[in-house]
């Protein structure tokens, strides 16, 4: 299992080289969400990386409306000469890269793409060119294992770094920031809300919009042996907001995990760490509770709903099907109690005694003790 990581300057690059890492992700400020490198800086860093025999991965992970897309692709031909691989996230960038470049491609499938079928289709879409898929950190280990073993290209997973929660192109901090901050390339803030138990969400605004991160950072270093045994090919370390010097201990822990050493690191590390959904993803278990089960029973013999009920007088039922005087009914109270009812009085809304009331209309039958408005009515 190889480590991949970002360099933002020559110092980072030297640290990467010293750790025996073989590739580096470079982020240009116009193409990458958190890129800081100008074209000049990018080209210079890229050539130094090549001198260090590092493979240069070009991160193009912004999402782009057509206007932005047209602007940024003007710059690409000059940059592509200096990189070995394109990493793309916007499907438009993927399509463009397939047709306008000859570089190998890596697809960032971190957003959604939680089924093998989707991932296989992305790979199949760039035959012979797709060299890596970057998986979502919302996947559990069982799913990661399955994908690593069944996908036809190597997989990469974020193993250490910030968790991006939110990405908008709108500038949300600058309307609140004082003039001196607005001049900066980026505005930073920590956010907390009384409506959330979490405090201190890092928020960043830059030329690409506004981003919010989790208060804890993502860490799968403890599971590095397991991930290697599964066959995961690339473990990404993202230290762009922390000290790049941590790369050394992280690299040695990933290669050869020692609990005591890593526990000490964790204790001293500035941020709390979390493993997210690595052990299990149960983010859909609450959904059945959000649904009203009574509403889900409207199948089969469902006749309609009680719209009006008057003790000693009538029940008025909105009808989805014709109702005949000879019909027998089952009525389900909103709280679950069931009633069997034989009809002996059937009237229409003009209060006429009838033998049938048609679907789409309202029927009045005799009152039944205990039945309320919103009770559901079925043909027995």
């Amino acid at each position: 299992m190889k480590i991949t990581t970002y360099a933002q300057n020559l110092h980072d690059l030297n640290l990467i080289k010293d750790q025996g890492i073989t590739e580096v992700i470079l982020a240009h400020k116009n193409f990458a969400r958190f890129g800081k490198l100008s074209t000049e800086e990018f080209i210079s860093l890229s050539s130094r990386a090549h001198e260090f025999s590092l493979r240069v991965l070009f991160e193009w992970d912004i999402l782009m409306t057509e206007t932005t897309f047209q602007e940024v692709i003007q710059e690409l031909p000059d940059l592509i000469k200096h990189v070995d691989v394109l990493r793309v996230q916007d499907p438009g960038a993927l399509h463009w890269a397939i047709h306008h470049t000859d570089r190998p491609l890596q697809f960032i499938a971190e957003n959604g793409n939680h089924n093998a079928r989707a991932l296989k289709e992305w790979i199949a879409h760039a035959p012979g060119r797709m060299e890596r898929i970057i998986l979502s950190i919302e996947l559990s280990k069982a799913v990661i294992e399955e994908y690593v073993q069944t996908l036809t290209v190597p997989c990469e997973l974020l193993g250490f770094g910030r968790i991006l929660l939110f990405y908008t192109p709108r500038s949300l901090l600058s309307p609140l920031a004082p003039e001196k901050l607005i001049q900066n390339e980026e505005i930073l803030a920590l956010g907390e809300s009384e409506e959330s138990p979490h405090k201190g969400f890092p928020i960043l605004e830059n030329r690409h919009g506004t981003f919010m991160f989790h208060i804890k950072e993502f860490c799968l270093v403890e599971f590095s042996t397991e991930l290697r045994d599964m066959g995961l090919q690339y473990f990404r370390v993202d230290l762009r907001w922390d000290k790049m010097e941590h790369l050394k201990i992280l690299k040695s822990s990933i290669d050869n995990y020692k609990t005591e050493i890593f526990d000490t690191f964790k204790d001293e590390y500035a941020q709390d760490l979390m493993r997210g959904f690595y052990l299990v993803n149960k983010t859909d278990v609450l959904f059945p509770k959000l649904k009203n089960h009574r509403l889900q029973k409207r199948e089969g013999h469902y006749l309609g709903e009680v719209m009006d009920a008057e003790k000693g007088s009538h029940l008025a039922i909105s009808l989805k099907k014709d109702l005949r005087k000879s019909d027998k009914l089952k009525i389900l109270h909103p709280k679950g109690k069931e009633f069997e009812v034989e009809i002996f009085s059937l009237r229409n809304l003009s209060l006429e005694d009838v033998d049938i009331v048609e679907a789409g209309s309202v029927a009045l039958i005799q009152y039944m003790n205990g039945v309320w408005v919103k009770s559901q009515v079925f043909l027995a």
Binding site: A93, W96, N111, G112, N113, N115, L165, A189
Partner: protein, 401 residues
């Protein structure tokens, strides 16, 4: 005058009743969710029988039905999809709305149902649209960050139908790119579990010297409203104008369908919007509850004025839905299913499917058994004297503030 291009008005329908309301009030298409695979977990949603009935009803009135399958499905969810797709094909739904490539391929394998790529996929440019078209999509519901002009370019250059939101609440994030709920509340926002954390008030520490933190609803978006830029949608031949809001009320579904379809009809007939009706349509839009309106990115990139820096619900609506006409004829009178109580003597507005509201003074209210009432109660049926022009399914509202 040459034949005027008229976009489709695509209204939300959170349940069968709302589907009927939207169709009767003029929506040329509705989008609905089944019990699974869509994003509105807490919505009423449709049973299979209701979907069948809804499709029959819409088709009988010349409207289309699109079914949302726009969750980012996990493998286990995907395995349950084929049976549902077979049902959708059998009842002849007009399209499915999909955001996940695995779902696109599953639908393609099993059916000939047209595939619309959901806004959840955040398709924003020509190249992305071309790619989705190759994957089998016939229409792209573009991201809300796309301008009308850009949407026109995407349509022409990618050769695919395009749909753009024209009205409703907005996700502040690029759709599908917010996992706040997933990581802070354990609810997958991309499978229907969004907890609306972007609507919270936040204290922001910007590292200033002062102790004071900025308090703001800085991540909350105003609601989209595109009525005044309808000519731009028409000029760019945007195929479908989408109204957000499957969780919203009957009054919302009806009002939006009516206003946008009437406005488009007017334009088709007159080739302009130089009409007093524009003011009345805007007045109608303000009669349903909403946050402050913005054009967001429809014309220019959304700026600071698109942020809704207010507490939710502080924008109390002046108008309230009172109920729905269940039946209206000379014998039965106007039978109303009451949702919110009203009093004898109140002035009610009955919203017809076409044209201006019918005003009625509720001087003579009786219950189902013809006994006089001075005040109605919610969840009851009451009668008013019959009035020509009032039809079953008409919605009734009242000014309350």
């Amino acid at each position: 005058m040459s034949e005027q291009f008229v976009p489709e008005v695509l209204a939300p329908a959170g349940g069968l009743d709302k589907l009927k309301v939207a169709v009767l009030y003029g929506a040329s298409a509705v989008y609905v969710g089944g019990q699974k695979f869509g994003l509105r977990t807490a919505a009423d949603n449709f049973t299979l029988d209701e979907l069948t009935e809804g499709v029959c009803f819409a088709h009988a009135h010349g409207s289309k039905v699109y079914v949302v399958l726009n969750s980012f499905l996990h493998d286990k969810d995907l395995s349950e999809l084929p049976e549902f797709v077979a049902h959708l094909e059998a009842i002849k739904v007009d399209a499915v709305i999909v955001s996940d490539l695995g779902v696109v391929q599953t639908v393609r394998d099993l059916s000939t149902i047209p595939i619309h790529v959901s806004t959840q996929a955040s398709t924003l440019n020509v190249e992305a649209a071309k790619l989705w078209k190759k994957m089998g999509a016939t229409r792209i519901v573009l991201g809300r960050e796309v301008s009308i002009k850009e949407a026109g370019i995407i349509k022409r250059q990618a050769g695919v139908e395009v749909e753009l939101f024209i009205h409703g609440s907005m996700c502040m994030a690029y759709s599908g790119n917010c996992v706040i709920s997933n990581f802070t509340q354990g609810r997958d926002s991309n499978r229907g579990g969004c907890a609306h954390s972007c609507r919270f008030e936040y204290s922001l520490d910007m590292g200033l010297d002062t102790e004071e933190k900025k308090k703001a609803f800085f991540m909350s978006s105003k609601d989209l409203e595109g009525l005044r830029v309808l000519p731009e949608f028409i000029k760019e031949e945007i195929d479908s104008l989408k109204i957000e809001g499957r969780m919203k009320s009957h009054l919302y579904a009806g009002t939006m369908s009516k206003v946008y379809s009437e406005a488009l009809k007017y334009y088709a007939q007159n080739g302009n919007f130089l009409s007093d009706d524009l003011v009345s349509w805007e007045a109608e839009l303000s009669k349903v509850s909403h946050r402050s309106y913005t054009k967001a990115s429809l014309v220019e990139k959304a700026d600071a004025t698109s942020i809704f820096n207010e507490r939710e619900n502080s924008n109390e609506n002046e108008w309230q839905m009172l109920g729905t006409v269940v039946e209206a004829n000379a014998k039965a009178g106007i039978v109303i299913e009451v949702r919110n109580a009203f009093n004898q003597g109140d002035l009610l507005e009955i919203v017809p499917f076409l044209g201006p509201a019918i005003l009625i003074n509720a001087n003579e209210i009786v219950d189902l058994l013809m006994r006089p009432l001075t005040r109605t109660k919610p969840t009851t049926l009451v009668r008013l004297p019959y009035r020509e022009g009032v039809l079953a399914q008409h919605l009734i509202r009242q000014k309350v503030h």
